[in-house]
Subunit: 226 residues, 2 copies
C-alpha cells in the first residue's frame, strides 16, 4: 500500500511523515509540499530538506492564485500583521470566528489536491498532521476531528472507495505529537514553523509559542534552535 | 447574501447559474470556471459567453498541474480514447469502479477551490450542478448525494460555519435539470458539453447522449445544435 503525506516542512507534518514511513516504508511514501502565498514560504525549504533526509519523492504545488482575494494575515498579500500571543489569547477578540491566520478552507483544499494527486499515483491513503490544539476553540476549524470525519467520508465516497484519510493526531495535543516524533527520531532540527518567515523564529507568534510549549512538555529544548 | 457558482459552461452548471441568479440577483452572483487539462477545454469559452450573457463576474482558474499524473481519458495527457456509448454501457466493463472519464476527485477539488475563493469574497453559499444521472451506478461517485452531504458538512464546519453548498439538482435527473432551465430561459444555445471538444459535438460520448436524451424528454431539440 502506498501513502501520500500532506507535508509542510513543519513539526506536525514531519512527525506525520515519520509515522507513515515507519508504517509503509520510505519506498511507499510520497510527500506533497504546497506553497500558497504564505509569508513563511521558507517552510518549503524545510520540506525539501526533510524529504531528502528520508530519501522520499517530494511533489510540489503552488496555489497562491486561489488565495489572491483573501486578507488572511498569514498571506503576503495581506496588510494585516500576524498576531502575537497564543491562540487562546487571540480567540478572545475573534467573536467566535477563526483566528486571523486561518487561511480560507486551506486544509480542505490541500486534502482535495492530495486526493486528486494520490489517486493518480495509486496511493490508498492520505496522511496529514492536524491535531487538537489547533482545533481548540475553533481557532482552525479545518483541523477539527468533526471536519476530518466528513472530509474523509467525502474523499472515500467521492473516489469510489479507492482512497481514505489517516489523521493520526486529530485527537492528540502538539505535545503528544512531539512525543511520537522523538520516539521516531524525526529530524526536527530541519523543520520550520514560525509564521513570520524571518531569518530566525520570532518566538511570539501562535505557532512559535505552541511549538516551544510542546518541546517543554517533553522536557527538551527545540532542536531547531540549537 | 452572495453566491459563488461552480461553472463549466455546460448544460447543468448553466442551469444552476440561472437558478442562483433568479434567487440572489445577478449582482450577487460570481461564477468560477476551471480548466484542468480537459480535452474539451473549449467549454471555458462557453462559460465566458454565458457569463457575459448574464453580465456577471467570472473568475477563472487553471488546475492542469494537479492532474498531470492521471491517465483519465478526459484529459489531454492521456493515451486513452473517450468511450462511446452511455454510462450504463460503460459501467458494464469497469468492475464497480468509476467510468474512464472520471477525473480523480475533481468535484471535491473544485468545491474546495470554490470554498477558498468564496470565503475571500464574502459569499455564503456555493452552487453546483451535480445531478443523479451522473451519480448512477457509481459512474461519477463525486456527483452523489452522499458525497455532497459530507462535502457540505466539511465546508460548513471547516469554514467556521461561514459557508455551505447548495446542490439543487443532486436528487434530480438531467431531464429535470433541462425542465428547470427552460422555465428560466437559460441560454442553452451558448453551452458546450461534448467531451471530445471538436468543432461540433460528437453525438456519441456519454455526455452527448445524456444531453440529447434530456432535451428529447422535454420534447425539444438541443438549441446548441440549431
Amino acid at each position: 500500500m502506498k501513502a501520500l503525506v500532506l507535508f509542510s516542512g513543519g513539526l506536525d507534518s514531519t512527525t506525520c511523515l515519520a509515522l507513515a514511513i515507519e508504517k509503509y516504508g520510505a519506498q511507499n511514501v510520497i510527500a506533497l509540499s504546497i506553497t500558497y502565498g504564505q509569508k513563511h514560504d521558507k517552510e518549503a525549504l524545510s520540506a525539501k530538506a526533510v524529504a531528502e533526509h528520508y530519501g522520499i519523492e517530494l511533489l510540489t504545488l503552488d496555489l497562491a492564485r486561489i488565495f489572491e482575494g483573501s486578507d488572511c494575515s498569514l498571506l503576503k498579500g495581506s496588510d494585516k500583521d500576524i498576531p502575537k500571543g497564543d491562540y487562546a489569547q487571540q480567540l478572545e477578540s475573534t467573536d467566535g470566528k477563526p483566528v486571523s491566520t486561518y487561511v480560507p478552507f486551506r486544509n480542505g483544499l490541500f486534502l482535495s489536491c492530495a486526493a486528486s494527486m494520490a489517486l493518480s499515483r495509486d496511493c490508498e491513503v492520505i496522511y496529514y498532521g492536524a491535531h487538537s490544539d489547533d482545533a481548540a476553540g475553533n481557532a482552525y476549524p479545518d483541523c477539527s476531528s468533526e471536519f476530518n470525519d466528513h472530509m474523509n467520508e467525502a474523499i472515500y465516497i467521492g473516489s469510489g472507495k479507492q482512497l481514505r484519510i489517516e489523521a493520526p493526531f486529530v485527537n492528540l495535543t502538539k505535545a503528544d505529537v512531539v512525543a511520537q516524533g522523538l520516539r521516531l527520531n524525526a529530524p526536527y532540527e530541519l523543520t520550520w514553523s514560525c509564521y513570520e518567515g524571518g531569518e530566525k523564529p520570532c518566538g511570539c507568534c501562535g505557532t512559535c509559542i505552541d511549538r516551544a510549549k510542546a518541546f517543554a512538555a517533553n522536557g527538551i529544548s527545540d532542536p531547531a534552535l540549537n
